[in-house]
């Protein structure tokens, strides 16, 4: 399937510092259409019918999230745009923010209108502080033109914490607390920020809203696969000749992205979805990029034949152990134990029983962790054990002949 620009339609076309260039490209026509011709419920129905699913990694149906928040009781509601792009190998949201802040702001404004929120926040990761002025300027221009009559939009900056990309930790961070994951239920659409109904959408998700409202749910629904509608923006890095951001129709093959577009050669494996993403061996390079198969946040890190699988998994687990919030034992202790074991394997001192421990621990963490980090942390271990088991076994044999 081909490249197609829906989300990135205006990137490198408009001037991100000038609203007039955006207005020339149908800017704020979607908001105008929503506010003048549609009720909030009708906007939500359109988004539901489009089949749009969240682009941050989890793939939750966007319209359903909005519907729950729209129906929730209370006047005080919030829309949060998750711009805490911390997933390893993901930089698409940075590219979007620096090239087209206006479509995002319009998307937030439509979301706020739909659910009846009077306040929107963009939660910007601390590492992207250099984008603050550009975003503030864009919001200021939109406000000046009178497009934010029904909602105000502010920016809240993070302070360096991967876990704050997880929606409940993100809300705690906006509330000024440690970014620790909350117990659920209640879910944010019923009790979110300051205990009020809240929707939290990834930057890329919100970038789709204007196009859906302007062109209709049916148009969007025709693009992609049965359960994955629209396009996805991928961040490709690692052993490729052309790293960068690519937008493809959902259902496109991994091969097309990494070999044909990013020009990778002699691929050993590809990590799709970041630190907690799937590891895909080269034999499976034809796998479609869709919610049904593999997707995640759209981080695509390519490893060529020279790379050591154990080293990659070990470093991935070190990252997860560091960034785990520490609230639940499976996340906190599970990642630490995995780091210890993987470190032994990387030194060639793995033991056979370590593999059993890794497998048992993986099951426990997936079942009992409080959030997606702990639940998905074992994925690189499980996948590498499935596809590259000999890499682990070779690191046992070097163990001076000792088999326990």
């Amino acid at each position: 399937m081909p490249e197609k620009r829906i989300v990135l339609k205006n990137c490198e076309v408009i001037d991100p510092e000038s609203i007039t260039t955006y207005l020339d490209r149908d800017g704020f026509k979607a908001l105008e259409k929503a506010v003048k011709n549609l009720t909030g419920e009708q906007v939500i129905e359109e988004i539901k019918a489009s089949g749009l699913r969240g682009r941050g990694g989890a793939g939750f149906p966007c319209g359903l999230k909005w519907e729950l928040a729209g129906k929730a009781q209370g006047d005080e509601k919030y829309v949060i745009c998750n711009a805490d792009e911390g997933e390893v190998g993901t930089f698409k949201d940075r590219y979007i923010l620096e090239n087209d802040p206006f479509t995002l702001i319009e998307g937030i404004a439509i979301a706020a209108y739909a659910i009846g929120a009077k306040q929107g926040y963009i939660y910007l990761r601390a590492e992207y502080h250099y984008l603050l002025d550009l975003l503030m300027n864009a919001i200021g221009q939109v406000r000046e033109r009178g497009f934010l009559q029904h909602v105000d939009i502010d920016i809240r900056e993070g302070a360096g914490a991967y876990i704050c990309g997880e929606e409940s930790a993100l809300m705690d961070s906006i509330e000024g607390k440690r970014g620790e994951v909350r117990y659920r239920p209640p879910f944010p659409p019923s009790r979110g920020l300051w205990e009020k109904p809240t929707i939290i959408n990834n930057v890329e998700t919100l970038m789709n809203i204007t196009q859906i409202i302007l062109n209709g749910a049916h148009w969007f629904n025709q693009i992609g696969t049965e359960r994955s509608k629209g396009t996805k923006v991928f961040s490709v890095s690692g052993d490729v000749k052309k790293p960068g951001v690519y937008e493809l129709v959902l259902g496109s093959r991994l091969k097309e992205l990494v070999e044909e577009l990013a020009l990778a050669e002699k691929i050993k494996m590809v990590q799709v979805g970041g630190a907690t993403g799937r590891i895909i061996p080269y034999e499976m390079i034809d796998t479609p990029l869709a919610f049904e198969d593999i997707l995640g946040s759209g981080a695509v890190i390519v490893f060529d034949e020279s790379r050591d699988v154990i080293d990659i998994v070990y470093r991935t687990m070190q990252f997860l152990a560091e960034e785990c919030c520490g609230k639940c034992a499976p996340g906190r202790e599970g990642t630490e134990v995995m780091v210890e074991i993987l470190e032994r394997f990387s030194r060639g001192e793995g033991m056979e029983r370590d593999i059993v421990t890794l497998e048992q621990l993986s099951q426990a963490m997936m079942l009992s962790s409080l959030c997606g980090l702990g639940q998905a942390a074992p994925i690189p271990v499980i996948d590498s054990l499935q596809y590259f088991r000999s890499a682990y076994e070779n690191q046992i044999r070097k163990n001076q002949g000792v088999m326990t």
């Binding site: 911390g86 390893v88 993901t90 930089f91 000024g176 790379r307 960034e323």
Partner: protein
């Protein structure tokens, strides 16, 4: 050690902090970030004062101050170098960049130069993987690094 003038400035900041509107906890992270940018760290005394003025426990304030990687309870140098150690940069030889910074300023990750000019840290993915290897110095991002570029970049920080 916190000097007298630092203590005074800190008290000013606290008073400024308590004057802004909103919910108490929201003030806390904002307050700690302002302390960090003003003093280069959030020292114990600052934490105690913040707890008192916001009427929350010291442990809560300490918990927030030590949770986020851009806040530090230890004094940091005037410029903070953060080299990305995540996989996309690692694949583009971030080890070489780390070594180059070490050679240039004579300290290892986790340390601060004796003259207080640089602190050196390793950080997780900073979202410029298409231009790896990369690092941040203060709020600035430097990309497509080479050892030669490192020396030039470091010279621009006073």
């Amino acid at each position: 050690m916190i000097t007298q003038s630092l203590r005074e400035r800190k008290m000013d900041k606290i008073q400024e902090g308590t004057s802004f509107q909103g919910k108490d906890h929201e003030n806390l992270l904002a307050l700690l970030k302002r302390g960090q940018s003003k003093f280069g760290c959030v020292p114990d005394e600052f934490i105690a004062e913040a707890a008192q003025s916001l009427n929350i426990t010291i442990s809560k304030v300490y918990g927030v101050a030590t949770f986020y990687s851009f806040l530090s309870t230890k004094p940091l140098g005037r410029n903070v170098i953060r080299i990305c150690k995540s996989l996309p940069c690692y694949l583009k030889n971030s080890q070489m960049i780390i070594k180059s910074v070490e050679d240039n300023i004579g300290i290892k990750p986790g340390e601060t130069t004796p003259d207080g000019k640089f602190s050196f840290e390793l950080t997780n993915c900073i979202g410029v993987c298409d231009k790896a290897p990369a690092m941040m110095i203060n709020g600035n991002v430097h990309v497509n690094l080479t050892p030669r570029k490192i020396s030039q970049i470091l010279k621009t920080y006073k």
